[in-house]
Amino acid sequence: MIGAAGQTRNPKCEYRPGKQRSDSTVQNGGSHPPKAESAILTFASCSLILGFQVLFAAVCCPVVAAQDEEPKPGPIKEFFDKLDTEYHGFYEARAGYRLQNDPHEKDMSILEARYQFDLFSMRDWGDVKVKGDLYGDGVEEKGVFDLREANLFMRPTDTMDVKLGRQVLTWGTGDLIFINDLFPKDWQSFFVGRDTEYLKAPSDAVKVSFFMDWANLDVAYTPEFDSDRFISGERLSYWNPVLGDRAGEDNTLSVERRREFLEEDELALRLYRNIRNYELALYGYWGYWKSPGGFNDAMNAAVFPELYVYGASVRGTVGKGIGNAEIGYYDSIDDRDGDDFLINNSELRYLVGYTQEIGRDFTAGVQYYIEQILDYGDYEDSQPAGMPKRDEFRHLTTLRLTKLLMNQNLNLSLFTYYCPSDEDVYLRPIANYKASDHLTVEVGSNVFFGDEAYTFFGQFEDNTNAYLAVRYSF
């Protein structure tokens, strides 16, 4: 796709839907310790969930009753006020179900009660930010702490910014399509119906930005590879090419993690400048395929082969709207000749997009995206017989429609991925209503369908779900 996850249907990616986090240790024979991220606090899950829901109800009910009144600061806020630290966050309950039977997964697609805290403090020497989510996950039956940000920001000179620590990083011009943004994504959260915020997984990195007269340069260095939180059979059923069929939590795959600090690292650069408000950028990335892009036969595990990416983009006013174009060359270092069927070939990826306001508070955006497999002849020749092959060109179109109603408190949006070459579709309709300055209600759906069970979106057909969420922000 959607960039990094795009190789999903590649038969080479039998491994792709491997699991992540703690299961990697189990399935990898315990050679690598699980990462601190999303440390799983294996609580007696249900009690935690129940606790959250009670908490949530306690907070929300009085709020609904008197939603226009500013809530009184609680003891936590007062505590942080004394430390000259802003304390914000939200409580959220979210529940969703599959709209059809999925033989490989539970009916419930999401069920969680979540608390997010967001601490921010400005000091003379810089800013400190810590943001974390604590949630009870009723589908996986566990309590989870996901530290989303923990960083220091400094502006040491007029021409330099530094951000150090866990942070969310984004660049590039695509709308839910990523070519040169090779920072980690959380596809699982995206497809099960969590807030769009969770599509971006955090990086443990240092980002240094230099601002010069002729251009600006961002350097993001991640000392230990941060993969995507890619699709795992644990939550979403997927196409498993080894089985030649869809699989789910009954057949999650092992992955071989890269965890060598300072050895298995990532470097991403962006050089950019504006010319008459046309935003021009050049990109470079030296790291690994973000979702599994290869398979280790001996280990029987999916791997993250080495990947270098070089790209460019432009964005600016075109007619009445905003146009963008982006290109990226994916240099698959471990299979430069394209004849190793276990490793992804190199690719070229292209994107053009255009967004325009087409009515009052009504915006439409379209994109056309192509993934081209290089050395396609070698790819074809190397594939074992009987494996479904990817097309040389994968075409993907997107359409986004956004309409605001009721004083912009009701946001109706529809994002559509349609892949004419694979003949599959992914729809994301969302209605979000701000009932007050604090309370938001959202209903949405993730709809997948396709002619074949092995195409990128088609494989998720049985995961089609609808969800409801209530959030109280403070």
């Binding site: 915020e197 971006k200 006013t317 408190n409």
Partner: protein
């Protein structure tokens, strides 16, 4: 002095409108021609000083009496008086939009659209905004974008329709009526300070449907400044009050209107 006074003030955000021409009332030597009036009022409403900063609190009240609040810090820097200018808006409330940044490079030339960006901190995303309709609501309030950053003087024809002891009343008729929802609007401008005190918008049927009033005007650093304004939408029954505090002019705002400061605002924008 009067001239200088009329030259400053940031109510840049506040109410306004204004406009032009119509025959000069030659009979009254104190009455300048309408183009002069609207030019001065435009400067007073949007271009006071070289730059300005304020904390803005909006209270949006719907017909049922339910209220919503918006709070943000706004920084403005002029490129040219009466011409292009830049706005930097740092949201503080409500909490779901906290730390969002909205950046506008306003262009006043004929047929030129503004450049707008939005920064969403949770995604670290710099978004380019395609909106070109300046008559849409600003952050869900009863103010529209043009109320906040100004309506180009050359978009309307202007006629001085009344002169009282204290006010000039100018009628403004859009040159391209198909692009706006009103058929005309009037602006009552204070004769001494050139602060627009009241604007009344009439719909295509000639019915009054929208009123913006300056409820409080104070002199800040010698610049007459609207510190409280109120817009009422007679059709929806909604209203929005906008209050300005911590107003300062000529604060020496640097070149903050670019991506670097979208991703991390300068300190002066954050408090």
């Amino acid at each position: 002095m009067l001239r200088k006074t009329s030259f400053v003030v940031l109510s840049a955000f506040v109410v306004f409108g204004l406009f032009l021409v119509a025959g000069v009332s030659a009979a009254d030597s104190d009455v300048p021609d309408v183009q002069t009036i609207v030019n001065k009022a435009n400067i007073v409403a949007y271009y006071q000083g070289d730059d300005g900063k304020a904390t803005v609190k909006m209270t949006i009240t719907n017909k049922a009496g339910q209220t919503r609040e918006r709070e943000f810090i706004i920084l403005r820097k002029d490129v040219a008086d009466g011409g292009d200018q830049n706005y930097f808006v740092y949201f503080q409330r409500p909490s779901d939009v906290r730390r969002m940044v909205y950046l506008v490079q306003k262009h006043t030339g004929e047929g030129k659209d503004d450049d707008r960006w939005l920064y969403l901190p949770a995604l670290d995303l710099v978004k380019r905004i395609a909106a070109s309709d300046k008559r849409t609501s600003f952050v869900g309030s009863d103010f529209v974008y043009e109320d906040v950053s100004g309506r180009g003087l050359d978009l309307d024809t202007h006629e001085l329709v009344e002169t009282t002891d204290t006010l000039f009343v100018v009628k403004n008729v859009p040159k391209k009526p198909e692009e706006v929802e009103f058929s005309y609007y009037t602006v009552a401008i204070d004769r001494k300070t050139y602060v627009p005190m009241k604007m009344e918008f009439y719909d295509k049927q000639g019915q009054l449907y929208r009123i913006i009033e300056s409820k409080d005007v104070r002199v800040i650093q010698e610049f007459p400044t609207v510190t409280k304004s109120l817009v009422k939408d007679l059709k929806t029954g909604g209203q929005t009050e906008m209050e300005f505090t911590d107003i300062r002019y000529n604060v020496g705002i640097g070149d903050i209107f670019e991506e670097r400061y979208l991703r991390r605002p300068p300190r002066e924008a954050m408090r």
